[in-house]
């Protein structure tokens, strides 16, 4: 064996033993000052992302606008469509007012819905709570809350224990009860990962689009500003203006999860 090769092996061996620990040590040193994330110049940034769903606008636009939001989201995120309701996976869908806001139910709500909302249901999705129980219960941190308020899923870490599904008071989460890939009925979006069986998924406030400077897909699908998305911490943002000018409700606020999807009735 010639010298250079021997030396090389020695160095390789050394680095495997000791020097190899250097990057790991660096990583720890870094995390002491907070993780370093390469900045994405084009990304949309906020202190606290929030969504305002304007039911008055949806009344003007009619049922097609609701469906457009659902379709936009489910297409872009490769959400499968199963025939058996047992296997269902959904990120954003419609519920009757009484089901979406069970605490507001009363005997004559139906009349109101008929008169004032043209009998339309309302959109429901993950509320990206400020105090999310799903994050609290997850035993692997596969679901976590970003500093800007987006509650995220790591499909590669989730073990499928479904504790988060029990913890979510809004029924926002779905498990892939079986392999979802054959059931993606829309055109496959190669920009977003498909999931495997056995992991949980839900609305992610389109974090992958925010990173590219785009608003969430459902917001973009709205022709008439039915859904507004923005920074709640910014007093000049559109969401703040809407909340100043209108009375808005949230789903099950009494549970203390601090949902960040607001509904203008």
């Amino acid at each position: 064996m010639d010298k250079t090769r021997r030396d090389f092996l020695k160095i390789a061996g050394l680095s495997a033993l000791g020097l190899g620990a250097k990057p790991a040590a660096d990583a720890f040193a870094q995390s002491a000052q907070g993780p370093k994330i390469a900045p994405i110049p084009e990304a949309l940034k906020a202190k606290r992302w929030a969504m305002v769903v304007n039911l008055k606008k949806f009344k003007e636009s009619g049922p097609d606008a609701l469906q457009a939001c659902v379709d936009a989201c489910h297409t872009i995120h490769n959400v499968p469509k199963f025939d058996n309701p047992k296997d269902e996976v959904k990120w954003i869908w419609t519920e009757s007012l009484a089901h979406a806001l069970p605490n507001e139910e009363h005997h004559f709500l139906e009349e109101f819905v008929k008169e004032q909302m043209k009998g339309l249901p309302i959109l429901v999705l993950c509320n990206h709570c400020d105090n999310p129980p799903c994050v609290r219960v997850c035993p692997t941190q596969a679901t976590f809350r970003r500093l800007d308020g987006v509650v995220m899923m790591d499909y590669h870490r989730c073990i499928g224990c479904r504790y988060c599904m029990a913890g979510c008071p809004f029924g926002a989460r779905s498990l892939n009860w079986r392999d979802p890939r054959p059931f993606i009925k829309t055109k496959l979006n190669r920009e977003y990962p498909t999931r495997t069986r056995g992991v949980v998924e839900k609305c992610n406030f389109c974090d992958e689009r925010l990173a590219k400077g785009l608003k969430p897909a459902c917001v973009e699908a709205c022709k008439n500003k039915e859904i507004i998305f923005g920074d709640l911490e910014d007093p000049k943002s559109e969401v703040r203006e809407l909340l100043r000018a209108n009375f808005a409700v949230r789903r099950k606020p009494q549970l203390g999860t601090q949902p960040q999807v607001y509904y203008i009735v």
Binding site: P85, K86, D87, E88, V89, K90, E95, A98, H99, A100, P102, E105, P133, R136, V137, C138, P139, T140, Q141, A142, R157, C158, I159, G160, C161, R162, Y163, M165, A166, G167, C168, P169, F170, G171, S174, L175, N176, W177, R178, D179, T196, R197, G198, V199, V200, K252, L255, G256, T257
Partner: protein, 389 residues
């Protein structure tokens, strides 16, 4: 010591083979589930935990109930439990093993189970449950095996084992408390959101575990030369009686709060149990079965003449066990999801493969218990004359 498990009568081997067959069938179905996913079960987006997690919850209670023997025997030197305590510890070992197996078969991605250790999350009750369950398994293996080994040599148990025995007492309480906290801390599930969950869990555990042990004692008395003693069985029967009465009381407390306050999120689940909700009533017959069997068992246990009868006591214990098994092993978990957060009703029924997997795990537990009991009984039969534990 273990060689004793490999010698046995024809009946013994027939039983072992039967268990292996059930276990094999369960395993085959588990392989199907592994390939297909949890869609092979009756669980759904709305009812996302079912039979597996129910059995897990029930069996944590059975495991914890060993403390009802360990505590009087080791802490109060209650000699009557001398022969039977080891049986309780071995039930705990089998039950915890089943618990851990039920967790594994319930995972969507069992291949990633170790993520729980790789990314420890102290904010999750499931993380703590894993720690206390494994710790409890270890404690019972250590204590049971050491004590039995000494007995075989005719020696008293070593001193160093005592701290572990004492530790196992609060530890048993902890496993069931932590398991109750899995449920009792979730904001959106009215059925579980009650401070009496952990006490109720312990109450029903101390009824179901000892009643199983009484049944096993009768079985051992019939099939082997081993007899834990009438006095021990009667003492256990009193424990079951008190535990059943306390359990009934706790359920009554729950029902009072729910029905007197009439908060809809809490009432709706019980309406589903008692009479059905939105025209769906799949759980109603089972729930009435739970009530009738539970009350009947409690009455039979309270009356001294029936409790003292060697023919009626096993019946009362079987009724108590069945009642609590349905209540905790099925309904407690499933009905927490019915109605769902949108106040709509999706019902749940386990599928055949799901039941086969469940039976398979039970067969695994029964197998472990059989082997351990075989060893224990053999050691007792060889015991030096005059030596009582």
């Amino acid at each position: 010591m273990f060689e004793n498990a490999l010698r046995g009568s024809k009946g013994y081997w027939a039983w072992i083979i039967l268990l292996l067959l059930v276990l094999g069938a369960g395993f085959a179905n588990y392989l199907r589930q592994w390939v297909f996913g949890l869609g092979i079960t009756g669980m759904s987006r709305d009812v996302s935990w079912g039979l597996y997690i129910g059995q897990f919850t029930f069996l944590v209670g059975v495991a914890a109930s060993a403390v009802m023997l360990v505590l009087p025997y080791y802490l109060h030197d209650y000699k009557v439990f001398g022969k039977i305590t080891i049986l309780g510890e071995f039930v705990a070992i089998a039950a915890v093993t089943m618990c851990l197996s039920f967790i594994i078969v319930d995972l969507g991605r069992p291949d990633r189970a170790f993520n729980v250790l790789l990314y420890p999350s102290p904010n999750s009750v499931l993380f703590w449950d894993m720690i206390v369950l494994n710790g409890y398994l270890f404690l019972n293996l250590l204590v049971g095996w050491t004590v039995l080994g000494c007995e075989q040599r005719g020696a008293p148990p070593p001193k160093w084992i005592k701290p572990f025995i004492y530790l196992s007492i609060p530890w048993a309480i902890s496993i069931h408390t932590v398991t109750a906290f899995l449920y009792a801390g979730l904001p959106g599930r009215g059925f579980w959101l009650t401070a009496i969950m952990a006490p109720r869990f312990l109450g029903s555990a101390f009824a179901s575990g000892p009643s199983l042990l009484i049944l096993l004692s009768f079985l051992l008395r019939r099939t082997t030369t081993f007899d834990p003693g009438r006095e021990a069985i009667q003492a256990l029967a009193k424990i079951v009686t008190y535990a059943m009465v306390v359990s009934c009381f706790f359920v009554a407390c729950e029902l009072f709060t729910v029905y007197y306050s009439q908060v809809p999120e809490h009432v709706s689940h019980f309406t589903y149990l008692f009479s059905g909700l939105h025209g769906k009533s799949g759980m109603v017959p089972l729930w009435w079965g739970v009530i009738i069997m539970g009350l009947l068992a409690t009455i039979l246990l309270i009356i001294p003449q029936t409790r003292n009868s060697d023919t009626i006591l096993p019946i009362a214990c079987a009724l108590a066990f069945a009642s609590l098994w349905i209540e905790k092993g099925i309904q407690l978990v499933v009905v927490g999801f019915i109605p769902n957060p949108m106040e709509t009703v999706t019902q749940y029924a386990p599928t055949l493969p799901e039941m086969s997997i469940t039976l398979g795990v039970w067969a695994l537990g029964a197998l472990i218990l059989t082997l351990l009991y075989k060893v224990a009984v053999a050691v007792r039969e060889q015991e030096p004359a005059g030596m009582s534990h």
